[in-house]
Subunit: 320 residues, 2 copies
């Protein structure tokens, strides 16, 4: 197939100029990359795709910012497994409406954001398309054997805790979309940054894994109730959240909103003080919002002690 | 993001019903898959994307056939490294014009074709899109340490050999596109099969690697001259092909056509008899078509001994 913009050489040069990455025997430029896994470790693998107009709006994100968010989406999945990001493959389907420079900016920013967390781009694919740009990253990470966090280990009595302020990114987007044309001009900068440049939780996850006591974890990219429901189903527990503890104050941040890349953890209550202390030491907000309970289903308890069911919106998605 | 067709559960069930794969600690359904690499082996990684209307035409390929070809494209890259396919992630961007059943058929056939060569689908992504369907596979394989074939090892004097009959798939497609609407009705069945159900060269590559003497290899997916030129540049050699030896007889198969998934090998001349014998034993056509020469550039020598330059069409592509 002929390729868009005749850009192969420029993008290959761009990738070649980035850090080569650890244990990359053969990088981009052959039929496949050759990588050398760390002896005795497990490999984790995830993939995430952004479709222009659906996962990002060009009037609100530069190509570079879209690339950064795409990296963040994948890094968040690796963080949720308590793994270390290592190697990435980046694929673009490029319509005529994207210039060569815009594609390079997206690729470069994506690669930079991955490199900041220790992952190198080792290959990819570039194809011409029609309509919307489609950008996909497959990210590989490494983790000590049998130490990957999963969704399935929570037990009744575990502390449920979230990093950051879930809903911030969605609130930022909702505010920006109120303007016509969409604009960040009336969005507080702290909120805008939550959307445009989400923080990575990779280092935090690695540090908490070293402390021990995290029994289950999930990436909150689809909204707190839906992702909590998934963790509960996988673990065979229910959950009761305390309304007063949810870090959702101000700006009307929607509880069920997606677009964040935060983590939800289920923590052995005996380990919670050490986990909370480690998060504090790392400078990362980690808030206990409730606990896992026997049975199934989600409830929200208000300050007066009244419990009501919490619907698990955003539930239906293709995982991993 | 809401997802197309609410199909997550059905596709997850479909994947879950397939063979789990070797050393899959955690399959689809969590934030990432967890895999256990073979101790002391290298990992190879490739990704390939099909865009509807560009990489396949719906009137000529069923969704299942498109899935099979997508698997073949990725398997061919792994074969070109002499590696064993192990784990795959499959991503779809699905427009409204594709039904849930059609997406499932594509996914299922792709997974089946991968499973036939030993690779399990361990994750993926499903997103709604507009316009054309986009399907991507990232395929991981394993190979003995430092034994991956690359494009860079050919030396002057090496035998250049191709598997199969390069150009067959493109010839089939060209014939089918002559009909209006496009149709296989006047395409010989052997040619049609070269396009619709390309043979995997994975087992052949593994067997030849065990014999030894293959110094460089490349997947011929972009046409013989262009891919040969890439191998020559990577190896720092030129090449002289013998027109009389090219397996292109009949049907006017175009030399520079893409769409095949065959291999081009550079073989130590001392090892060539053993390599040729092993290919014969495997029942795989492997034809010596020329040799690597000192210097650079490609030439084609006719039966009378006259040499002319061979233009390297299809050269510019984003590799790996």
């Amino acid at each position: 197939m002929p390729e868009p913009h005749g850009e192969a050489a420029r993008i290959a040069a761009l990738i070649a100029a980035l850090p080569r990455g650890e244990r990359v025997v053969l990088g981009p430029g052959d039929d496949a990359a050759v990588l050398r896994p760390l002896a005795g470790h497990d490999l984790v693998a995830t993939t995430d795709t952004f479709v222009e107009g659906r996962h990002f709006v060009r009037s609100l994100l530069t190509p570079a910012e879209a690339g950064t968010r795409l990296a963040a989406a994948n890094l968040s999945d690796i963080a949720a497994m308590a793994a270390t990001p290592r190697w990435a493959l980046v694929s673009l389907v490029v319509p005529a409406s994207w210039s060569a420079a815009e594609c390079e900016a997206l690729e470069h920013a994506c690669a930079q954001a991955l490199a900041a967390e220790g992952a190198a781009v080792v290959g990819g694919n570039l194809a011409a398309g029609d309509g919307a740009l489609v950008a996909s990253v497959t990210l590989l990470g490494e983790v000590e054997p049998d130490r990957a966090w999963t969704r399935a280990g929570a037990r009744a009595g575990d502390v449920l805790a979230v990093t950051g302020i879930p809903g911030s990114a969605a609130a930022a987007l909702a505010l920006a979309l109120r303007d016509s044309p969409p604009s960040w001009s009336r969005v507080p900068d702290e909120l805008r940054r939550a959307y445009v440049a989400p923080r990575s939780r990779v280092a935090l996850a690695r540090a908490l894994a070293a402390v021990g006591g995290v029994r289950a974890a999930i990436d909150l990219s689809d909204g707190l109730p839906g992702d909590l429901a998934r963790l509960c189903v996988a673990s065979g527990v229910g959950a009761r959240l305390e309304a007063s503890r949810l870090p959702l104050a101000g700006e009307g941040r929607p509880l069920a909103a997606s677009d964040d890349y935060e983590l939800l953890l289920a923590v052995d209550p005996a380990a919670w003080p050490a986990i909370a202390a480690e998060a504090l030491r790392m400078g990362a907000p980690l808030t206990a919002i409730g606990e896992a309970v026997a049975g199934s289903g989600l409830t929200l308890r208000d300050a007066a002690g009244a419990e009501r069911p919490l619907p698990a919106a955003g539930w239906d998605h293709f995982p991993a």
